[in-house]
């Protein structure tokens, strides 16, 4: 069972998640970041996911742009290796439902490195559709990868 809560003003509990070299939450080199850099990545309205009291994942859904019709969100989501993709996807879905109940959401986009099998598994398990890929864009783990763009469009949008 994964519980969720906003990080708020003190992101300390989330810092330990960045010890895994493939915890790609807004960075391609999570394990190499210093603590101030990690804290700078953790917005107060990011969601910290816990299981058994321990942090297991992060979800953040900022607006894609700060003007105009605010219905386009960008999903940043990452879970620790020990979290199965279906459990992670269920948590992402739950947070998306909560958001959609309180704010207009017509489109959510999510980018994943091409060689990131866990990221791809999460995107697909959460029901995101692959819209395209930018070839050979990011260098991660010693090799160049595509950047895959996934999206989910609200029914009737």
């Amino acid at each position: 069972m994964i519980s969720t809560a906003f990080i708020g003003s003190d992101p300390t509990a989330a810092v330990e998640l960045f010890e895994e070299p493939d915890f790609y939450f807004r960075t391609p080199v999570p394990d190499l970041l210093s603590e101030p850099e990690i804290r700078a990545l953790l917005a107060p309205d990011a969601v910290l996911c816990r299981s058994g009291g321990r942090p297991v994942g992060l979800i953040w859904l900022p607006l894609a742009q700060d003007h105009g019709y605010a219905g386009h969100r960008v999903l940043h989501a990452r879970f620790a290796r020990r979290v199965p993709a279906d459990a992670a996807a269920g948590t992402v879905g739950s947070v998306l439902c909560t958001l959609a109940g309180r704010r207009p959401v017509h489109r959510v986009t999510h980018t994943v490195y091409g060689g990131d099998r866990r990221g791809v598994a999460l995107a697909e398990a959460a029901g995101f559709e692959l819209e395209g890929a930018l070839p050979v864009l990011v260098a991660v783990g010693g090799a160049w990868h595509d950047l895959r763009l996934y999206a989910k469009v609200a029914a009737g949008a």
Binding site: F18, L32, S34, E37, G141
Partner: protein
């Protein structure tokens, strides 16, 4: 090979006791009157740590030309192992093209540096202070995989 990770606040003690200044390889601890430790900002200076063992500092990071200065310091762990690990991180994870580092000329560590692919480029007279004297230092350069 030692596993390097990013600096945490709890590593401040290690950084203060191991860091001997911007030298490519240093071991044995900083001792009194050591230079102030580098402040990681992630943009121009990245501090990496092997907990309780040593630190690897990449500073003067040039994101345009993808170069940096590398300095590695340990308390008593083999400094050459940490340098080898830092080179892998610099090349494969941070995608730097080359790194440079400074060693006092004739330093006993220069053979180990050369074995890891460093090449002596320039010797500067009276460049570092050692045992009460200004002694010459050599700038070593390592080219990293640039693909």
């Amino acid at each position: 090979m030692p596993e390097l990770r990013g600096y945490r606040t709890r590593d401040a003690g290690l950084l203060a006791t191991a860091w001997q200044g911007p030298l490519l390889m240093a071991t044995g601890g900083a001792g009194p009157f050591a230079p102030p430790p580098p402040e990681p900002d992630g943009h121009w200076c990245r501090v990496l740590v092997v907990p309780d063992a040593g630190v690897a500092v990449l500073d003067r990071i040039d994101h345009v030309h993808r170069t940096a200065r590398l300095s590695v310091a340990t308390l008593d762990a083999p400094v050459v192992d940490l340098l080898a690990a830092a080179l892998v991180v610099a090349g494969e994870r941070l995608r730097l093209r080359q790194v440079i580092g400074v060693l006092p000329t004739g330093d006993e560590q220069q053979t180990a540096a050369a074995a890891l692919g460093f090449v002596a480029e320039v010797t500067i007279p009276e460049h570092v202070w050692r045992d009460g004297n200004a002694v010459p230092a050599t700038i070593w350069r390592a080219g990293l995989d640039d693909t």
